[in-house]
Symmetry: C2
Subunit: 255 residues, 2 copies
Protein backbone atom coordinates (compact mmCIF):
# COMPACT_ATOMS: atom_id res chain seq x y z
CA UNK A 1 0.00 0.00 0.00
CA UNK A 2 1.57 3.28 -1.14
CA UNK A 3 1.35 6.31 1.10
CA UNK A 4 -0.31 9.16 -0.83
CA UNK A 5 -0.67 12.86 0.06
CA UNK A 6 -3.33 15.07 -1.49
CA UNK A 7 -3.62 18.85 -1.46
CA UNK A 8 -7.17 20.14 -1.08
CA UNK A 9 -9.06 23.40 -1.27
CA UNK A 10 -12.56 23.60 0.16
CA UNK A 11 -15.39 25.99 0.88
CA UNK A 12 -16.43 24.80 4.33
CA UNK A 13 -19.85 26.50 4.40
CA UNK A 14 -21.87 23.31 3.86
CA UNK A 15 -19.80 21.03 6.11
CA UNK A 16 -19.60 20.22 9.79
CA UNK A 17 -15.85 20.75 9.66
CA UNK A 18 -13.21 18.22 8.69
CA UNK A 19 -14.42 15.52 11.04
CA UNK A 20 -16.75 15.22 14.00
CA UNK A 21 -17.85 12.40 16.24
CA UNK A 22 -21.41 12.64 14.98
CA UNK A 23 -22.88 11.42 11.73
CA UNK A 24 -22.88 14.86 10.13
CA UNK A 25 -21.63 15.39 6.59
CA UNK A 26 -18.00 16.41 6.88
CA UNK A 27 -15.21 17.21 4.42
CA UNK A 28 -13.50 13.99 5.56
CA UNK A 29 -16.54 11.74 5.01
CA UNK A 30 -17.21 13.31 1.59
CA UNK A 31 -13.60 12.96 0.48
CA UNK A 32 -13.28 9.41 1.86
CA UNK A 33 -16.23 8.30 -0.26
CA UNK A 34 -14.71 9.88 -3.39
CA UNK A 35 -11.33 8.20 -2.74
CA UNK A 36 -12.93 4.80 -2.15
CA UNK A 37 -14.94 5.06 -5.39
CA UNK A 38 -11.74 6.00 -7.24
CA UNK A 39 -9.29 3.44 -5.84
CA UNK A 40 -11.82 0.66 -5.37
CA UNK A 41 -11.06 -0.22 -1.75
CA UNK A 42 -11.67 1.16 1.75
CA UNK A 43 -9.14 3.71 2.97
CA UNK A 44 -8.21 5.33 6.23
CA UNK A 45 -7.93 9.09 5.70
CA UNK A 46 -5.85 11.42 7.89
CA UNK A 47 -6.31 15.20 7.68
CA UNK A 48 -3.83 17.88 8.74
CA UNK A 49 -6.15 19.26 11.41
CA UNK A 50 -9.70 19.48 12.63
CA UNK A 51 -11.48 22.46 11.21
CA UNK A 52 -14.78 23.66 12.62
CA UNK A 53 -18.10 23.88 10.81
CA UNK A 54 -17.97 26.67 8.24
CA UNK A 55 -14.16 27.03 8.27
CA UNK A 56 -12.53 27.08 4.83
CA UNK A 57 -9.21 25.91 3.43
CA UNK A 58 -7.19 27.31 0.58
CA UNK A 59 -4.65 24.59 1.35
CA UNK A 60 -5.30 21.42 3.33
CA UNK A 61 -3.33 18.18 3.26
CA UNK A 62 -4.58 14.66 3.85
CA UNK A 63 -2.96 11.26 3.40
CA UNK A 64 -4.11 7.69 2.86
CA UNK A 65 -2.69 4.38 1.68
CA UNK A 66 -3.72 2.67 -1.54
CA UNK A 67 -2.64 -0.12 -3.89
CA UNK A 68 -4.23 1.67 -6.85
CA UNK A 69 -2.00 2.06 -9.92
CA UNK A 70 -3.49 5.43 -10.92
CA UNK A 71 -0.76 8.04 -11.50
CA UNK A 72 -0.29 11.04 -9.21
CA UNK A 73 -0.89 13.28 -12.24
CA UNK A 74 -4.24 11.64 -12.94
CA UNK A 75 -5.47 11.13 -9.36
CA UNK A 76 -6.80 14.71 -8.73
CA UNK A 77 -8.92 14.57 -11.91
CA UNK A 78 -10.33 11.16 -10.94
CA UNK A 79 -11.14 12.29 -7.39
CA UNK A 80 -12.67 15.60 -8.51
CA UNK A 81 -15.04 13.69 -10.78
CA UNK A 82 -16.52 12.15 -7.61
CA UNK A 83 -16.48 15.32 -5.47
CA UNK A 84 -19.02 18.15 -5.15
CA UNK A 85 -17.90 21.58 -6.39
CA UNK A 86 -17.04 22.90 -2.93
CA UNK A 87 -14.18 20.40 -2.37
CA UNK A 88 -11.37 20.26 -4.93
CA UNK A 89 -8.21 18.14 -4.97
CA UNK A 90 -5.47 20.34 -6.46
CA UNK A 91 -2.53 17.89 -6.43
CA UNK A 92 -1.41 14.44 -5.30
CA UNK A 93 2.04 13.07 -4.41
CA UNK A 94 3.59 9.73 -3.54
CA UNK A 95 5.18 10.17 -0.11
CA UNK A 96 7.45 8.11 2.12
CA UNK A 97 6.03 5.49 4.46
CA UNK A 98 6.56 7.75 7.52
CA UNK A 99 4.62 10.77 6.19
CA UNK A 100 1.59 11.65 8.33
CA UNK A 101 -0.67 14.67 7.55
CA UNK A 102 -0.59 15.78 11.21
CA UNK A 103 2.51 14.10 12.64
CA UNK A 104 4.89 15.43 9.97
CA UNK A 105 3.61 19.03 10.27
CA UNK A 106 6.15 21.65 11.25
CA UNK A 107 3.85 24.71 11.22
CA UNK A 108 0.57 26.00 9.84
CA UNK A 109 -0.84 29.34 8.74
CA UNK A 110 -4.43 30.53 9.11
CA UNK A 111 -5.88 33.68 7.56
CA UNK A 112 -8.89 35.49 9.03
CA UNK A 113 -10.83 37.80 6.68
CA UNK A 114 -12.94 40.69 7.96
CA UNK A 115 -15.18 42.62 5.55
CA UNK A 116 -15.21 46.06 7.11
CA UNK A 117 -17.76 48.26 5.37
CA UNK A 118 -21.12 49.88 6.09
CA UNK A 119 -23.08 47.39 4.03
CA UNK A 120 -22.63 43.67 3.38
CA UNK A 121 -21.09 42.31 0.20
CA UNK A 122 -23.25 39.50 -1.26
CA UNK A 123 -20.14 37.82 -2.67
CA UNK A 124 -18.56 37.64 0.80
CA UNK A 125 -21.42 36.04 2.72
CA UNK A 126 -20.03 32.88 4.39
CA UNK A 127 -16.58 33.93 3.12
CA UNK A 128 -15.66 36.80 5.47
CA UNK A 129 -16.81 38.21 8.82
CA UNK A 130 -18.98 41.26 8.08
CA UNK A 131 -18.11 43.92 10.65
CA UNK A 132 -19.61 47.39 9.99
CA UNK A 133 -17.89 49.36 12.80
CA UNK A 134 -14.60 51.26 12.64
CA UNK A 135 -11.41 49.26 13.19
CA UNK A 136 -7.95 50.76 13.73
CA UNK A 137 -5.38 48.65 11.91
CA UNK A 138 -2.47 50.17 13.86
CA UNK A 139 -4.02 49.18 17.19
CA UNK A 140 -4.82 45.73 15.77
CA UNK A 141 -1.16 45.33 14.76
CA UNK A 142 0.04 46.39 18.23
CA UNK A 143 -2.34 43.87 19.82
CA UNK A 144 -1.35 41.09 17.41
CA UNK A 145 2.35 41.57 18.25
CA UNK A 146 1.63 40.64 21.87
CA UNK A 147 0.88 37.07 20.83
CA UNK A 148 4.25 36.51 19.13
CA UNK A 149 6.62 33.93 20.58
CA UNK A 150 6.28 30.98 22.92
CA UNK A 151 3.39 31.30 25.39
CA UNK A 152 0.73 29.38 27.22
CA UNK A 153 -2.34 30.07 25.06
CA UNK A 154 -4.97 28.66 27.44
CA UNK A 155 -6.61 32.10 27.65
CA UNK A 156 -7.48 31.98 23.94
CA UNK A 157 -8.81 28.50 23.48
CA UNK A 158 -12.16 26.84 23.91
CA UNK A 159 -11.99 23.85 26.19
CA UNK A 160 -13.30 20.61 24.77
CA UNK A 161 -10.68 18.42 23.27
CA UNK A 162 -7.92 17.32 25.63
CA UNK A 163 -4.39 18.38 24.79
CA UNK A 164 -1.20 17.56 26.66
CA UNK A 165 0.07 21.13 26.64
CA UNK A 166 -1.35 24.57 25.95
CA UNK A 167 2.11 25.98 25.12
CA UNK A 168 2.52 27.02 21.48
CA UNK A 169 4.88 29.25 19.51
CA UNK A 170 3.43 31.94 17.22
CA UNK A 171 5.91 32.90 14.48
CA UNK A 172 3.99 35.78 12.94
CA UNK A 173 0.59 37.43 13.31
CA UNK A 174 0.22 40.11 10.62
CA UNK A 175 -2.67 42.51 10.06
CA UNK A 176 -3.17 43.95 6.59
CA UNK A 177 -5.81 46.27 5.20
CA UNK A 178 -6.75 45.59 1.56
CA UNK A 179 -9.47 47.92 0.32
CA UNK A 180 -12.51 47.02 2.48
CA UNK A 181 -10.96 43.87 3.91
CA UNK A 182 -8.77 43.41 6.93
CA UNK A 183 -6.79 40.19 6.75
CA UNK A 184 -5.02 38.65 9.73
CA UNK A 185 -2.41 35.97 9.01
CA UNK A 186 -1.08 33.87 11.85
CA UNK A 187 1.53 31.14 11.72
CA UNK A 188 2.34 28.81 14.63
CA UNK A 189 3.76 25.38 15.38
CA UNK A 190 0.24 24.35 16.36
CA UNK A 191 -3.12 25.82 17.35
CA UNK A 192 -5.44 25.05 20.25
CA UNK A 193 -9.18 24.67 19.70
CA UNK A 194 -10.63 28.03 18.53
CA UNK A 195 -7.29 29.72 19.25
CA UNK A 196 -7.16 31.76 16.02
CA UNK A 197 -10.76 32.94 16.37
CA UNK A 198 -10.21 33.97 20.03
CA UNK A 199 -6.95 35.77 19.16
CA UNK A 200 -8.70 37.68 16.35
CA UNK A 201 -11.57 38.52 18.73
CA UNK A 202 -9.05 39.85 21.23
CA UNK A 203 -7.27 41.95 18.60
CA UNK A 204 -10.66 43.40 17.53
CA UNK A 205 -11.51 44.08 21.19
CA UNK A 206 -8.30 46.08 21.46
CA UNK A 207 -9.18 48.05 18.35
CA UNK A 208 -12.59 48.86 19.84
CA UNK A 209 -10.93 50.13 23.04
CA UNK A 210 -12.28 47.32 25.21
CA UNK A 211 -8.76 46.40 26.27
CA UNK A 212 -5.29 47.80 25.68
CA UNK A 213 -2.68 45.86 23.66
CA UNK A 214 -0.38 46.24 26.68
CA UNK A 215 -2.79 44.20 28.80
CA UNK A 216 -2.59 41.16 26.55
CA UNK A 217 0.56 39.59 28.10
CA UNK A 218 -1.12 39.60 31.53
CA UNK A 219 -4.33 38.18 30.06
CA UNK A 220 -2.32 35.33 28.53
CA UNK A 221 -0.60 34.79 31.89
CA UNK A 222 -3.99 34.53 33.59
CA UNK A 223 -4.95 31.51 31.41
CA UNK A 224 -8.52 32.82 31.85
CA UNK A 225 -10.63 32.61 28.66
CA UNK A 226 -13.18 34.96 30.24
CA UNK A 227 -10.78 37.92 30.09
CA UNK A 228 -9.91 37.87 26.38
CA UNK A 229 -12.05 38.82 23.38
CA UNK A 230 -14.91 36.80 21.86
CA UNK A 231 -14.57 33.91 19.43
CA UNK A 232 -15.24 35.48 16.03
CA UNK A 233 -17.39 33.62 13.44
CA UNK A 234 -16.04 30.57 11.61
CA UNK A 235 -16.91 31.90 8.14
CA UNK A 236 -13.91 34.30 8.11
CA UNK A 237 -11.34 31.59 8.85
CA UNK A 238 -9.18 29.90 6.20
CA UNK A 239 -6.34 27.41 6.52
CA UNK A 240 -3.87 28.97 4.10
CA UNK A 241 -0.40 27.56 4.69
CA UNK A 242 1.34 24.32 5.67
CA UNK A 243 4.97 23.39 6.19
CA UNK A 244 6.11 19.76 6.49
CA UNK A 245 9.35 18.32 7.82
CA UNK A 246 9.23 15.58 5.17
CA UNK A 247 7.23 14.16 2.28
CA UNK A 248 6.03 17.27 0.40
CA UNK A 249 7.93 20.47 -0.35
CA UNK A 250 6.99 24.16 -0.35
CA UNK A 251 6.49 24.28 -4.11
CA UNK A 252 3.98 21.42 -4.10
CA UNK A 253 2.17 23.00 -1.13
CA UNK A 254 1.93 26.39 -2.84
CA UNK A 255 -0.34 25.07 -5.63
Amino acid sequence: MKNTAILLRFDGTAYHGWQTQMRDVTVCSTLKQAIEKTVGHAVSLTGCGRTDAGVHARRYVANFRTDSTITMERLPFALNAHLPGDIVVRAAAAVGERFHAVGSLEKKEYTYRIYNDRHRDPFERSRAYFYPYALDVDVMRAAARMFLGKHDFAAVRTQGSSVKSTIRTVFYFDVEKKDKFIELRVCADGFLYNMVRAMVGTVMYASRGKLSPDEIPALLESRNRGLTGPTVPACGLYMTGLWYREGVDAQWLSQ
Copy 2:
Protein backbone atom coordinates in the same frame (compact mmCIF):
# COMPACT_ATOMS: atom_id res chain seq x y z
CA MET B 1 -44.20 60.51 -4.79
CA LYS B 2 -40.44 61.04 -4.78
CA ASN B 3 -38.30 59.37 -7.39
CA THR B 4 -35.64 57.23 -5.67
CA ALA B 5 -32.59 55.46 -7.10
CA ILE B 6 -30.89 52.55 -5.36
CA LEU B 7 -27.51 50.99 -6.03
CA LEU B 8 -27.45 47.21 -5.67
CA ARG B 9 -24.95 44.39 -5.61
CA PHE B 10 -26.15 40.82 -6.06
CA ASP B 11 -24.96 37.27 -6.42
CA GLY B 12 -27.28 36.05 -9.17
CA THR B 13 -26.72 32.31 -8.64
CA ALA B 14 -30.09 31.65 -6.98
CA TYR B 15 -32.20 33.90 -9.24
CA HIS B 16 -33.88 33.67 -12.60
CA GLY B 17 -32.29 36.94 -13.61
CA TRP B 18 -33.59 40.43 -12.90
CA GLN B 19 -37.05 39.81 -14.28
CA THR B 20 -38.79 37.17 -16.38
CA GLN B 21 -42.30 36.70 -17.67
CA MET B 22 -42.75 33.58 -15.56
CA ARG B 23 -43.44 33.29 -11.87
CA ASP B 24 -39.83 32.43 -11.02
CA VAL B 25 -38.04 34.06 -8.11
CA THR B 26 -36.14 37.00 -9.56
CA VAL B 27 -33.95 39.75 -8.15
CA CYS B 28 -36.71 42.22 -9.03
CA SER B 29 -39.49 40.30 -7.28
CA THR B 30 -37.35 39.81 -4.17
CA LEU B 31 -36.33 43.46 -4.03
CA LYS B 32 -39.86 44.71 -4.73
CA GLN B 33 -41.15 42.78 -1.72
CA ALA B 34 -38.43 44.24 0.52
CA ILE B 35 -39.17 47.79 -0.69
CA GLU B 36 -42.91 47.39 -0.15
CA LYS B 37 -42.38 46.08 3.39
CA THR B 38 -40.10 49.04 4.09
CA VAL B 39 -42.13 51.90 2.59
CA GLY B 40 -45.56 50.45 3.36
CA HIS B 41 -47.11 50.75 -0.09
CA ALA B 42 -46.96 49.04 -3.49
CA VAL B 43 -44.19 50.26 -5.81
CA SER B 44 -43.33 49.91 -9.46
CA LEU B 45 -39.65 49.00 -9.75
CA THR B 46 -37.50 49.67 -12.82
CA GLY B 47 -34.09 48.00 -13.22
CA CYS B 48 -31.20 49.16 -15.41
CA GLY B 49 -31.33 46.05 -17.56
CA ARG B 50 -32.48 42.47 -17.79
CA THR B 51 -29.86 40.08 -16.57
CA ASP B 52 -30.10 36.35 -17.24
CA ALA B 53 -30.36 33.59 -14.67
CA GLY B 54 -27.07 33.24 -12.81
CA VAL B 55 -25.65 36.61 -13.94
CA HIS B 56 -24.20 38.76 -11.15
CA ALA B 57 -23.94 42.49 -10.50
CA ARG B 58 -21.30 44.41 -8.61
CA ARG B 59 -23.28 47.53 -9.52
CA TYR B 60 -26.91 47.64 -10.59
CA VAL B 61 -29.30 50.58 -10.43
CA ALA B 62 -33.06 50.51 -9.98
CA ASN B 63 -35.60 53.27 -9.34
CA PHE B 64 -39.07 53.52 -7.83
CA ARG B 65 -41.39 56.20 -6.46
CA THR B 66 -42.39 56.48 -2.84
CA ASP B 67 -44.01 58.87 -0.38
CA SER B 68 -42.04 57.36 2.51
CA THR B 69 -40.19 59.88 4.72
CA ILE B 70 -37.28 57.54 5.44
CA THR B 71 -33.92 59.25 4.75
CA MET B 72 -31.66 58.21 1.89
CA GLU B 73 -28.95 57.48 4.48
CA ARG B 74 -31.23 55.10 6.37
CA LEU B 75 -33.01 53.45 3.42
CA PRO B 76 -30.28 50.89 2.49
CA PHE B 77 -30.15 49.61 6.09
CA ALA B 78 -33.95 49.29 6.21
CA LEU B 79 -34.09 47.47 2.87
CA ASN B 80 -31.20 45.14 3.71
CA ALA B 81 -33.03 44.05 6.86
CA HIS B 82 -35.72 42.61 4.56
CA LEU B 83 -33.36 41.17 1.92
CA PRO B 84 -31.60 37.79 1.75
CA GLY B 85 -27.77 37.85 1.96
CA ASP B 86 -27.25 37.54 -1.78
CA ILE B 87 -28.86 40.91 -2.61
CA VAL B 88 -27.51 44.05 -0.93
CA VAL B 89 -28.54 47.69 -1.33
CA ARG B 90 -25.33 49.73 -1.08
CA ALA B 91 -26.74 53.27 -1.44
CA ALA B 92 -29.90 55.28 -2.15
CA ALA B 93 -30.40 58.73 -3.66
CA ALA B 94 -33.29 61.14 -4.27
CA VAL B 95 -33.33 61.78 -8.01
CA GLY B 96 -35.17 64.12 -10.35
CA GLU B 97 -38.61 63.27 -11.69
CA ARG B 98 -37.20 62.42 -15.13
CA PHE B 99 -34.63 59.85 -13.93
CA HIS B 100 -35.26 56.36 -15.31
CA ALA B 101 -32.94 53.39 -14.54
CA VAL B 102 -32.88 52.37 -18.21
CA GLY B 103 -33.90 55.52 -20.09
CA SER B 104 -31.29 57.76 -18.46
CA LEU B 105 -28.43 55.31 -19.09
CA GLU B 106 -25.55 56.53 -21.19
CA LYS B 107 -23.40 53.38 -21.15
CA LYS B 108 -22.78 50.19 -19.21
CA GLU B 109 -19.83 47.96 -18.43
CA TYR B 110 -19.86 44.18 -18.03
CA THR B 111 -16.96 42.07 -16.79
CA TYR B 112 -16.57 38.41 -17.69
CA ARG B 113 -14.37 36.28 -15.41
CA ILE B 114 -12.66 33.09 -16.60
CA TYR B 115 -10.89 30.85 -14.09
CA ASN B 116 -8.16 29.33 -16.22
CA ASP B 117 -6.39 26.56 -14.32
CA ARG B 118 -6.05 22.78 -14.41
CA HIS B 119 -8.36 22.23 -11.45
CA ARG B 120 -11.47 24.04 -10.25
CA ASP B 121 -11.43 26.53 -7.39
CA PRO B 122 -14.24 25.80 -4.89
CA PHE B 123 -14.50 29.52 -4.08
CA GLU B 124 -15.15 30.36 -7.74
CA ARG B 125 -17.96 27.90 -8.49
CA SER B 126 -20.93 29.97 -9.82
CA ARG B 127 -18.61 33.01 -9.75
CA ALA B 128 -16.35 32.42 -12.76
CA TYR B 129 -16.30 30.22 -15.88
CA PHE B 130 -13.91 27.34 -15.19
CA TYR B 131 -11.91 26.73 -18.35
CA PRO B 132 -8.98 24.28 -18.01
CA TYR B 133 -7.43 24.63 -21.47
CA ALA B 134 -4.69 27.03 -22.61
CA LEU B 135 -5.76 30.55 -23.59
CA ASP B 136 -3.54 33.08 -25.32
CA VAL B 137 -4.22 36.54 -23.91
CA ASP B 138 -2.53 38.30 -26.84
CA VAL B 139 -4.78 36.57 -29.37
CA MET B 140 -7.79 37.30 -27.14
CA ARG B 141 -6.82 41.00 -27.10
CA ALA B 142 -6.44 41.07 -30.89
CA ALA B 143 -9.88 39.45 -31.27
CA ALA B 144 -11.51 41.78 -28.73
CA ARG B 145 -10.23 44.84 -30.62
CA MET B 146 -12.26 43.78 -33.66
CA PHE B 147 -15.49 44.54 -31.78
CA LEU B 148 -14.57 48.17 -30.99
CA GLY B 149 -16.64 50.94 -32.49
CA LYS B 150 -20.09 51.18 -34.05
CA HIS B 151 -21.28 47.95 -35.65
CA ASP B 152 -24.30 45.80 -36.28
CA PHE B 153 -23.98 43.18 -33.54
CA ALA B 154 -26.68 40.79 -34.84
CA ALA B 155 -24.03 38.04 -35.24
CA VAL B 156 -23.40 38.01 -31.48
CA ARG B 157 -26.87 38.07 -30.03
CA THR B 158 -29.47 35.48 -29.21
CA GLN B 159 -32.79 36.22 -30.83
CA GLY B 160 -35.76 36.41 -28.52
CA SER B 161 -36.60 39.88 -27.38
CA SER B 162 -37.47 42.30 -30.16
CA VAL B 163 -35.24 45.35 -30.53
CA LYS B 164 -35.58 48.20 -32.99
CA SER B 165 -31.94 48.16 -34.00
CA THR B 166 -28.99 45.79 -33.61
CA ILE B 167 -26.48 48.66 -34.04
CA ARG B 168 -24.42 49.37 -30.93
CA THR B 169 -21.17 51.16 -30.10
CA VAL B 170 -18.49 49.35 -28.08
CA PHE B 171 -16.16 51.83 -26.34
CA TYR B 172 -13.63 49.36 -24.93
CA PHE B 173 -13.19 45.61 -24.68
CA ASP B 174 -10.12 44.87 -22.56
CA VAL B 175 -8.60 41.50 -21.70
CA GLU B 176 -6.49 41.23 -18.59
CA LYS B 177 -4.72 38.26 -17.00
CA LYS B 178 -4.66 38.33 -13.19
CA ASP B 179 -2.95 35.27 -11.72
CA LYS B 180 -5.23 32.37 -12.75
CA PHE B 181 -8.07 34.59 -13.92
CA ILE B 182 -8.67 36.18 -17.29
CA GLU B 183 -11.03 39.15 -17.03
CA LEU B 184 -12.72 40.74 -20.02
CA ARG B 185 -14.25 44.19 -19.55
CA VAL B 186 -16.55 45.58 -22.17
CA CYS B 187 -18.29 48.94 -22.24
CA ALA B 188 -20.98 49.93 -24.74
CA ASP B 189 -23.94 52.25 -25.17
CA GLY B 190 -26.15 49.18 -24.94
CA PHE B 191 -26.03 45.41 -25.25
CA LEU B 192 -28.19 42.98 -27.21
CA TYR B 193 -29.48 39.80 -25.61
CA ASN B 194 -26.48 37.52 -24.75
CA MET B 195 -24.16 39.87 -26.66
CA VAL B 196 -21.36 39.91 -24.05
CA ARG B 197 -21.43 36.13 -23.63
CA ALA B 198 -21.30 35.57 -27.42
CA MET B 199 -18.48 38.13 -27.83
CA VAL B 200 -16.46 36.40 -25.07
CA GLY B 201 -17.17 33.01 -26.70
CA THR B 202 -15.89 34.39 -30.01
CA VAL B 203 -12.74 35.81 -28.40
CA MET B 204 -12.09 32.40 -26.76
CA TYR B 205 -12.69 30.67 -30.11
CA ALA B 206 -10.01 32.89 -31.63
CA SER B 207 -7.61 32.00 -28.82
CA ARG B 208 -8.25 28.30 -29.46
CA GLY B 209 -7.46 28.76 -33.18
CA LYS B 210 -11.03 28.08 -34.33
CA LEU B 211 -11.14 31.41 -36.11
CA SER B 212 -8.68 34.23 -36.75
CA PRO B 213 -9.17 37.69 -35.19
CA ASP B 214 -8.97 39.08 -38.74
CA GLU B 215 -12.11 37.17 -39.69
CA ILE B 216 -14.26 38.83 -37.03
CA PRO B 217 -15.20 41.96 -39.05
CA ALA B 218 -16.61 39.74 -41.82
CA LEU B 219 -18.45 37.57 -39.29
CA LEU B 220 -20.08 40.71 -37.85
CA GLU B 221 -20.98 41.83 -41.39
CA SER B 222 -22.65 38.46 -42.02
CA ARG B 223 -25.10 39.05 -39.14
CA ASN B 224 -25.05 35.23 -38.82
CA ARG B 225 -24.99 33.99 -35.21
CA GLY B 226 -24.01 30.54 -36.48
CA LEU B 227 -20.54 31.74 -37.54
CA THR B 228 -19.33 33.27 -34.27
CA GLY B 229 -18.27 31.55 -31.03
CA PRO B 230 -20.54 29.92 -28.44
CA THR B 231 -22.45 31.70 -25.68
CA VAL B 232 -20.28 31.20 -22.59
CA PRO B 233 -21.91 30.37 -19.21
CA ALA B 234 -23.83 33.02 -17.26
CA CYS B 235 -21.91 32.43 -14.00
CA GLY B 236 -18.86 34.37 -15.25
CA LEU B 237 -20.79 37.52 -16.11
CA TYR B 238 -21.02 40.60 -13.87
CA MET B 239 -22.57 44.00 -14.46
CA THR B 240 -19.77 46.20 -13.14
CA GLY B 241 -20.24 49.76 -14.37
CA LEU B 242 -22.98 52.28 -15.14
CA TRP B 243 -22.94 55.83 -16.45
CA TYR B 244 -26.03 58.07 -16.34
CA ARG B 245 -26.78 61.27 -18.20
CA GLU B 246 -28.62 62.62 -15.15
CA GLY B 247 -29.71 61.80 -11.61
CA VAL B 248 -26.70 60.02 -10.11
CA ASP B 249 -23.01 60.81 -10.52
CA ALA B 250 -19.88 58.67 -10.97
CA GLN B 251 -18.92 58.91 -7.32
CA TRP B 252 -22.26 57.58 -6.09
CA LEU B 253 -22.12 54.82 -8.70
CA SER B 254 -18.62 53.76 -7.69
CA GLN B 255 -19.73 52.67 -4.19
